[in-house]
Structures are given as C-alpha cells and as structure tokens.
C-alpha cells in the first residue's frame, strides 16, 4: 500500500501580523553653530508613517535652558518622552547644583540617557544646539543609541540626505570648484537663518515628510529667540 501523501499549501489571504513598537513620524531637523550663536531648526509636519499627514503644526524643538535647545526627529512618542525626561533631569540638576546645566553637560546627559535604553532604544534622531560656557556656538549630533559628536553643523531626519550635502557645501566649503563661491569663514546670524530657510524649502521639495512650517530657534548670549517660516503644504 502506498504511503499517503500530503501536500501542505500555505493559507491564502492571511497575513501574519506583528506588533511593531516603532513608527517614523518623519521630519527634518538641523543645527548650525556660529562663533557666538547657534541656529536650530525643525519642520513641524507629523506624518502617520505612510502618505498621510497627522498634523502640520507639531513642534519638534524644545528649549532646555537659555543657552541650549534640542531638536528631534523620528518617533513622536519617544521624542515627547525624551524631552520630558531631559527637562526633569535639568530641574534636578539645578536643585542639587544651584545653577543651570551647561550645554556641554546636557550633551553628555543626552548621550547617557539614550544609551541607557540601548536594548529598546528611543527611536529618535537628535541634534543639540546652543552656546557653551565661554559663549561659543556649539552643535552636537546623535544617533538613536547615544553616539554623539560635537560639530559645526548637523542635520537629522527624513530630509537628512538632502540637507547634509548642502550644509557640507555651504558651511563646510566642500567641493567648491569656483573658489569665489565659498561661504565666508564666519556667517552672521541673519545669513545663517536665511540659509536655514532655503535649506528647508529645498528639502521640502523632494522629501514628502518635510514641509508645512519650520520653527527656527536662534541662541545667543542674550537668550533664545524663535521664529516660524512657512513651507509648502504639499
């Protein structure tokens, strides 16, 4: 008697569901450090992870002290919690030490906070901008688990690949074949803000997750000023 043969066919029209704790709500951030100032900017579009827009007016930037500002792209839920956690740690520091945290200390704190969740990370891409204790402009850029580096300029988010090369060219004066087009050694606050607006408009053209409005924060020794610029709504 022949052994019965069975063939197993996969069930049709059944997809295996798996819960993902992460979603990318999109958006682009950047920070540009000058000799005595820093400009930090982020768009305000919140996407639903696909083609939809959940909101056009959700801020990605939080002022931490009069000298330091953090901008975060990635998952909105993790961003909010991360910013809340940092603000609480800043209050504790000020109670214990009698003075606000310096920008360099905050930079280290953020790195430690991110690495603390090395095995269930905050889905966040951060940049910190501000001025240090000597009044010099600083910018720091991070990966999701806390690796960070002090830089002159940095960008993160869905538009990073569109923005970073422009910053490399304009601020890092890279790949200039016509020397006269090189940006001056030290840009003024106004020129940096204008560059930031141009950069966001360019990114918004090609990145569907970037657009609507951009919050621009300018940190100087006189404190933090903010302004809002319009981007395209498409």
């Amino acid at each position: 008697m022949a052994a019965p043969s069975f063939t197993v066919t996969p069930l049709q029209n059944v997809k295996e569901q798996k819960f993902s704790p992460y979603v990318n709500n999109g958006g682009t951030t950047l920070a540009v450090a000058g000799p005595d100032f820093c400009v930090v900017a982020a768009d305000t579009r919140l996407s639903d992870g696909g083609y939809g827009i959940s909101s056009r007016t959700v801020p990605k930037v939080t002022k931490l002290t009069d000298k330091c500002v953090i901008a975060t792209s990635g998952m909105q839920g993790d961003m909010i919690t991360l910013h809340k956690t940092l603000k609480a740690r800043l209050v504790m520091y000020e109670h214990q030490n009698g003075k606000p945290m310096s920008t360099t200390a905050i930079a280290q704190l953020l790195s430690n906070t991110l690495y603390y969740k090395r095995f269930f990370p905050y889905y966040t891409f951060n940049v910190i901008g501000g001025i240090d204790d000597d009044g010099v402009g600083v910018a720091y850029s991070y990966d999701a688990v806390g690796s960070f580096e002090r830089v002159k300029y940095s960008s993160s988010g869905t538009g990073q690949q569109l923005v970073q090369p422009i910053l490399d060219n304009q601020l890092g004066r890279k790949h200039h074949h016509v020397p006269t087009t090189a940006a001056p050694v030290n840009m003024t606050v106004e020129d940096s803000e204008a560059l930031v607006r141009d950069v966001f408009n360019s990114a918004g053209e090609r990145d569907i997750y970037t657009g609507d409005f951009v919050d621009i924060y300018t940190i100087t020794k006189d404190g933090v000023k903010t302004s809002k610029a319009e981007l395209k709504f498409d």
Partner: protein, 254 residues
C-alpha cells in the same frame, strides 16, 4: 520638664493623652532660628533669619526652592529640612511629569504631613525635627502653610516659627488685615519688620543673616538674599519706628 515616666518612647502615651516624644520634637522647632511667612491675594513670602555656628562660619540657608511655584522656610534640625525638601522636590517633579501641570500646594503639604505622621507611629523611627513654612501659588491663589513634626498642618494668613517667634506673631497680628491688598514690596517690608521683632537688641538684620523667598502671580519662586536684599533692608531702616519693640524678659530667654 520632668515628665520622664512617659517620655521614653514614641509609642507611649501619657495619662493626659500626650506623646512626649512628639512634644520634644516640636521643641527642636522652637529652638531653631526664626522664620516668618505671610501672604497677600497674589503673593506669598517667607523671611528667614540665618544662623552662623560661629564668627568663622557661613550662615545656614533657611529658604529652599521646591518648584517654580513652591518654596519653604525651615526652623529646627536643618538636616531633616534638607531631607524633606528632597522629598518635596521629587514629588512636585514627578507630578509635573505625569500631569503636565504644577502640583497644588495643599496636596503637597498633605502628603508631607502624612509622611511626618508615619514617623510618629512606628517603632524605631523618630519624628522629623523640623517645622516648615510652605509658601506657594497655584490655581486657587496664594498659600501659606505651617507643618510640624507631629504631622498636623495649618493654613495661615501669616505665621512665625522658631526662637522668639512670639514677638513676630504679635507684629503680624497687628498688621495682618492689611496684607491681602498689600503690594509685594510692602509685604516684604512687613515680613522684615516682623522678623526684626525676634532679634535681641544687640543684633540687627543684615544682608548676611537674612533671606527672603517670594512666589506669586506671574512670579516664579525667587530667593532674595545678599546684595539684592539691601534695598529692602535700607527701606525698613528709614522707618524703624513702625512698631514698638516689645521684647520682654521672658522672650529674651533662650
């Protein structure tokens, strides 16, 4: 104070229904240097007299910030005060994190008093040896509370605690009806006058031994001391005859 039969432990009542260990803890508050608290409709302030252990030493801080809208002045065991302010700071910070809203002053004071009470009903735990004047401003306006090692708390319009505080209370009783509508500068002057009543004739208020904490409508808790206090001290110097000094012999005794 010969009550030695019933004062050996926190768990023993006297035949009169008192627990002497708690009374003794409250004595620690009475021996601490004076603190005065008062409030108007929009502001609540504390004024503290700092003590230095010797001429060589710095003056102990008396006023602590708890949150942007709450501060305290203390009298008694300062180490216990630091422990309690750590607790209060942690509670207000957690509340802010969870509810995105400043904690109500009365709620914090209730929690603190419950914690103090727990220390009066446990074998092996001693009561806190510090009294606090808690000032704050929240949705229901300006607040002033006094807390005590016994675990009770009181809502006050004005109060003074610590050594020779009765003299300050006498001043406050005379003037408290004008506090509600008082502008902030005058409120601070009242606080300084009240505190000055607690000083013996040989001492004066100075930028070294005095500290003021202010909180209220559109004003985060701010500690005014050192040079910043000078204009207020100068202002009360000019009108030093505002009240008669009524320090009697009984009050002068420590």
């Amino acid at each position: 104070m010969n009550r030695s039969q019933y004062d050996g432990d926190i768990t023993i009542f006297s035949p009169q229904g008192k627990i002497f260990q708690i009374e003794y803890a409250m004595e620690a508050v009475k021996q601490g240097s004076a603190s005065v608290g008062l409030k108007s409709k929009d502001f609540a302030i504390v004024v503290g007299l700092k003590r230095a252990s010797s001429e060589l030493g710095a003056f102990q801080p008396k006023v602590f910030k708890i949150d942007d809208h709450i501060g305290i002045a203390v009298a008694g065991l300062i180490a216990d005060a630091r422990g309690l302010s750590k607790y209060m700071r942690s509670e207000t910070l957690n509340y802010k994190f969870v509810y995105d809203s400043p904690m109500q002053v009365g709620r914090l004071v209730t929690q603190l008093s419950d914690k103090s009470q727990a220390h009066t009903q446990r074998y092996g735990r001693r009561p806190y040896g510090v009294g606090l004047l808690v000032v704050g401003y929240d949705q229901t306006g300006a607040h002033l509370y006094e807390t005590s090692p016994s675990g009770v708390f009181y809502d006050f319009k004005a109060q003074a605690i610590g050594a020779r505080s009765q003299s300050a209370r006498t001043y406050l009783e005379k003037h408290y009806e004008s506090f509600a509508e008082c502008p902030l500068e005058d409120l601070i002057k009242h606080g300084l006058y009240a505190l000055r009543e607690t000083l013996p004739n040989t001492e004066t208020l100075s930028t070294k031994n005095c500290t003021v904490g202010v909180v209220g409508l559109h004003k985060s808790f701010d500690i005014i001391e050192g040079e910043r206090l000078k204009p207020y001290l100068d202002a009360i110097e000019e009108t030093s005859g505002s009240t008669e000094t009524t320090t009697t012999d009984a009050e002068m005794k420590d």
